[in-house]
Subunit: 192 residues, 2 copies
């Protein structure tokens, strides 16, 4: 399939999101993204006049939206089934990548820009986390939880999955992720 | 206080750990660490012939040991009190740094080296997580939990705190961290 020039901005954003998930924020340079996206260097600056932070911000926002769409889809099965399906997707992603690929939004959240510039990506990560929390909270409320309880459980779920992915990447072993899933299952039992 | 030349390796490692916690792994270059540690560039390579990954590996190991020492200290008060004290230390760290500083071990866990080289830091992060898990598991077992339950709770605790720190950094708001603490308090009640 040929690549039309008009695909370039989307390809740059996709490549940046993939790089974020594997190498983190500060390693995702315009030079490296452009090279991996097979895009002309000058055109990247043409499409993204804000440079690196504009690309990283849009890549983080896109990654956040994709994960929110997955959440929306799986939660149609109900909160508990939906969350379990979401956890299964993450488990598969870890195994498929042999623990090399994680969450682009987490990467954007934990690295200050080394050049001290704008932090579009960090802000986009904050909005992504908030969006996922809202989506999960709504599902928990629909199953009978109070608003505060639902939000706290949603935050706990996101935090523990992000941490579990990192622990399994560090140990190159799915065991940590599976232990967190086991603990989450205990927390997810529908309110009687 | 004067800085003796023999302090240089330790200063380089400390600076690398601080940079990891703020800027992540790939931004923590020998050049930048050397500059911030006010160390002679040549001497860094003299002390660390393995280069960047040797420095990052030792910095991650040191950071992991320090956190394990804090855990050991607070857990003398018992598992529940100890964990609550540990959470209070993390909360203070987030607020004091205005959400700019996180966990160096998490940073080492989630970034593949962009140069495709050795991954000493990632391996050190895996050992750090395992060490913290052991320490917490022992405290939970001492309070009456079974070994599997204790380990799963320990993993959950580490994962959710790591994720909560990242979420609060992203949102520049302690609320996510506090919601996770609230959920953990519910899980920590001693086994009757």
């Amino acid at each position: 399939m040929g690549t039309r020039p008009s695909d370039t901005p989307q390809r740059v954003i996709n490549t940046a999101a993939e790089m974020l998930a594997t190498y983190g924020l500060n390693a995702t340079s315009i030079r490296e993204v452009t090279k991996r996206a097979d895009a002309p260097f000058g055109s990247t600056y043409h499409h993204f006049p804000g440079g690196k932070q504009q690309v990283l911000g849009q890549a983080t926002a896109l990654a956040g939206q994709r994960i929110e769409q997955i959440l929306e889809e799986v939660l149609k099965e109900g909160a508990v089934q939906g969350v379990l399906a979401f956890l299964a997707i993450w488990r598969e992603r870890l195994l498929q990548s042999q623990f090399h690929v994680g969450c682009p939004v987490l990467a954007a959240a934990i690295e200050e820009p080394i050049d001290g510039g704008a932090d579009d990506a960090r802000q986009a990560a904050g909005r992504a986390f908030a969006g996922w929390e809202r989506r999960l909270s709504q599902a928990f409320i629909a199953e009978g939880r109070g608003a505060d309880d639902a939000q706290a459980l949603a935050t706990m779920l996101i935090a523990s999955v992000e941490g579990a992915v990192a622990m399994s990447r560090a140990t190159r072993d799915i065991a940590a992720f599976d232990r967190v899933v086991q603990q989450l299952q205990g927390m997810l039992h529908p309110v009687a």
